[in-house]
Amino acid sequence: MNEQADILRATDIAFAYRPGEPVLRGVSISAAPGRFTCLLGPNGSGKTTLLRCLLGQLAPSSGTIELGGRALRNYRPRELARVLAYVPQQPASSLAFSAGEIVLMGRYAHTGPLGLAGPGDLAVAREAMKMTDTLGFADRTLDELSGGEAQRVMIARALAQQPAVILLDEPTSHLDIRHQLNIYRMMRRLAHDWPMAVVCVSHDVNVAARLADELVLMRAGLVVAAGTPAQTIRQDLLSHTYDVPVDLIATPDGGAPMVRAKWAAPEEKPQ
């Protein structure tokens, strides 16, 4: 792991879709090459809104976001795409493009108006597909792939942008545990080996705790805690974050403990 200085830094940002109903209430977060950060928190805590602010698609009402020492809002879209890439929750293409062509679309910001790929673009796309182990089905369309394979194609597409930061929005929410683990391992590898800054909104605290370098716990538009899994996987913090009493269960491999909601939470006893 070779951690470097922060490349993306949001300071005290606030955002509301409707006046008087703030979704983010002063959130600070940073990302650095070499670090795999996971955003955790219950539904409605503002994780996805924060991610959309970091993507430059929502403008915070206050606070600043800096990317590479420059205000995020001063980036032009093509310029931004060469630094920052995004992977959606659900891979989807309304057109029947092959996986290889979708990955090549990641070169949009690097190519001319017609987006015609040159040998350099092909090499980058090939490398991105090798990295995500998707080269074997470059000729197939998304419809012909499993959920995990399709999501890896979307990650390859993001990598083809050659970004310094990659943001992912619950990329494994519809995958089984094996594919979840695969994707999280891949994100960790990207952060450590490339190295790039990886920020992932996550719904699974256990996978995140095992593989992320940093966890950011969010609740009701605020950051409850941020730090290494050892610092943040604590009964009091997690109970507060998720608003449900939790147990921590030691794992046989001695890694981060398992987090599980208590069977009999006070408000909802079975009898």
Partner: protein, 342 residues
């Protein structure tokens, strides 16, 4: 049977498109369009006994007009389908054609009153009408900047009804001797002769609009992955919407000023081209307009020659495209639209 990925050497990224391939297809289809246009011109004059230069020129102009109009509507349909990720989007269905129609009707009235030349007043008012309809459809269908595909079609229906009412009302105030002409025009009928100035103005508008769509063709591909992915890939989604609506508005206005609102061509041709040439909008934006030109030249010739041969008189080509397009629309609705929603 062999597994597609087993040592066939196919597990590699290849560019499906090169500049050479684009130029090749453009040349091939342009040549086909010229041949079809020539053939259709011949069919038109072959039954006439007194062949003069005049008749040849008139027929050739008719075919040129048909080609330009067909290209415009097909390219507009493809762009709207790409922009909205909706296979049913099309200038006619979304009410853009009828908006332009209202403008043309007002243009004719204005030209009569203010003694403006038709080539100046008609396209400008057609454009204003088309853009007003674009805006109305967009405002009705969008929610928080996102376009819902079902609302989109519904708002097109509403705008069409509204524009239709204005046009019908307009008929009340028009010189009774001209109502028959206007009725044919409103069904989508190419005129027997088109003033050269009008053809030149509309033709240039269509070429300029096409150039804007062509320049954005790669963006429609990326947009297929969703607004968020497209935006984070470097596509200015809002600018793309503005550019597309603006260009399609200009092109549709020009087409309607030339030939009246011709429906469903913008639905059928892009779809057939997609099935033949694949989903890539960069190739699509070259082959679709040329296929649209070929389609409308043939349809127009059928309506003109076969119609009279069968004793039906001349059938407006808009009727033929609507007869073919209605069932096609239902086919798309039943097969393609299910998964494309949201």
């Amino acid at each position: 049977m062999t597994a597609p990925d087993a040592k066939t050497g196919r597990d590699d990224v290849r560019a499906s498109l090169s500049l050479g391939r684009l130029i090749l297809w453009a040349a091939a289809l342009l040549a086909a369009a010229v041949v079809v246009g020539g053939a259709c011109t011949l069919v038109g004059v072959i039954r006439l006994s007194d062949l003069t230069r005049q008749i040849w020129a008139t027929r050739a102009t008719q075919m040129l007009t048909a080609g330009i109009v067909g290209a415009s509507l097909a390219a507009g349909g493809l762009a709207l389908q790409g922009l909205m990720r909706n296979p049913l989007a099309e200038p006619y269905i979304l009410g853009i054609s009828s908006g332009a129609g209202v403008g043309v009707m007002m243009g004719l009235a204005a030209a009569a009153r203010l003694s403006l030349p038709a080539w100046a007043s008609t396209p400008v008012l057609a454009f204003l009408g088309a853009m007003a309809s674009c805006l109305a459809v967009y405002l009705v269908a969008q929610r928080r900047g996102r376009l819902d595909p079902y609302s989109l079609i519904l708002s097109g229906v509403i705008v069409n009804v509204f524009n239709g009412a204005i046009m019908l009302a307009g008929n009340l105030y028009i010189d009774p001797h001209r109502i028959a002409d206007l009725t044919y025009w409103a069904m989508g009928q190419l005129p027997d002769s088109t003033p050269t100035a009008l053809l030149a103005v509309c033709g240039s508008c269509i070429v300029a609009g096409w150039a804007v769509l062509m320049a954005n063709s790669a963006a429609y591909n990326v947009l297929g992955l969703g607004d968020d992915v497209a935006a984070s890939s470097g596509v200015s989604v809002n600018r793309l919407r503005l550019a597309t609506f603006g260009a399609v508005g200009v092109m549709t206005a020009a087409a309607v000023a030339l030939a009246g609102p011709i429906g469903f061509l913008g639905l059928i041709v892009p779809h057939v081209c997609r099935m033949t040439f694949g989903p890539d909008h960069r190739l699509g934006m070259i082959v679709t307009p040329l296929a649209g030109a070929i389609f409308l030249m043939i349809a127009e010739t059928l309506c003109r020659s076969l119609g009279s041969a069968m004793g039906l008189g001349r059938v407006p080509v808009g009727i033929l495209t609507a007869l073919a397009g209605g069932p096609f629309f239902i086919f798309l609705l039943r097969t393609r639209f299910r998964g494309a929603a949201a």
